[in-house]
Symmetry: C2
Subunit: 230 residues, 2 copies
């Protein structure tokens, strides 16, 4: 029986989750020996996975000093959100131009089917997964796999902040995170009508709204990361 998944892949997936969740604190040095023991692999596959994550921007690297968790600063998060605007607005534009009618209809369907779940969801992780899913599906409509790839990478690095943000909103709203599906619907309707300007404008303002919230979330994230007990 052939082994289907390599050790590197397994280690990579584990590390990506850890990096996305800031299981390593910002700028923290990563000890390869200790980590390889935790992950049950030797340093060779571990370092291969770490190199991938460096190339993806989840970690940094310094010669003879090893791997470090990426820093967490307001301007870094700002950059990521602005890059999302670039990628998603163009994806929206392309979707308006060239997506098949049935695929657009499928996106609208998806929104309808998700709405009850979205409105009733209380778990930030669940809400975030649904939100990301919508954006990923929309990027698919662009038919451009580079844009999808870039978006996936950006979302991975933003995820932690968005989660903090959603938790904050839930706590302020008394146990209920607000599922803002209306913005998504507005975007989807713009695409369905092949109204490029309307759809792109809706997308831009949707992401930029989130970006503004995120600045505050970074401050909170900082305090959370330096109080390691849950």
């Amino acid at each position: 029986m052939a082994k289907r998944e390599s050790n590197v892949d397994r280690v990579y997936e584990a590390l990506r989750r850890m990096a996305a969740d800031f299981a390593f604190k910002p700028d923290q040095r990563i000890n390869e020996s200790a980590l390889s023991e935790v992950l049950g692999a030797s340093r060779t596959p571990l370092r291969e996975a770490l190199n991938r994550l460096v190339a993806e921007g989840f970690l940094t690297f310094q010669n003879n000093r090893g791997f470090f968790c990426r820093p967490l600063t307001p301007s870094y998060i700002m950059d990521l959100y602005e890059a999302r605007v670039a990628v998603e607005c163009e994806a929206t534009r392309l979707a308006c131009t060239r997506a098949a009618d049935e695929d657009i209809a499928a996106l609208a369907d998806y929104l309808n089917r998700m709405e009850p779940e979205y409105e009733s969801a209380t778990d930030p992780e669940e809400l975030l997964a649904m939100d990301e899913s919508f954006h990923a599906r929309l990027a698919q409509l662009s038919g451009n796999s580079e844009l999808q790839r870039i978006l996936n990478n950006l979302n991975g690095r933003i995820r932690y902040i968005r989660l903090i943000d959603l938790k904050r909103m839930r706590d302020r709203a008394g146990g209920k995170a607000p599922g803002d599906i209306s913005a998504h619907r507005q975007i989807a309707e713009g695409i369905a009508a092949r109204n490029t300007d309307a759809a792109v404008t809706a997308m831009r303002s949707h992401i930029e709204k989130r970006r503004e919230e995120a600045t505050e979330a970074v401050r909170i994230a900082f305090s959370q990361l330096y109080v390691p007990d849950e």
Copy 2:
């Protein structure tokens, strides 16, 4: 005396150049042992470098089968150009909004200083370097390092096709590649006037024009890659 540059870095740089130039043919399997001998390093640092390149999209990877050169298809090149539109238009927009007057002036200065060299240049590699330099500088004006990072990656993967394209234009124009600096100037003027729409529109049409040429260049690239003698 401390060693300043690691083996991995050196190997990575060499591989990036090779991958950018399609020193490996599309979909070709990469033999680690042979390559490590050529590069004068063992397989361990080589594989670390190869993993970075996979994460950056220069290579692909299959379990137990190793590393492969990325494929070269019209739709792949199209995707890269569309991603460039996304990134560079947003960078232009941000530059209009927030770049310092003196930095914008520096860009215009750069264009002026370059113009004689640009008009007289006959070497496609030189022309391309100058073109990329303009776009990189403009991205810098956005103040967003993610957009710069993404653009750098996209340009690396597009470079080979652009080179083919420039060579084709040179050959058709009789030994002289056309240095189309006017489009760059138009973009720079739009930014200087803080006229976002004009600058973004100019940037979009500039890249899209190049994208259309590129489709033909892919066909030529194919034929060049499969006639290995220079």
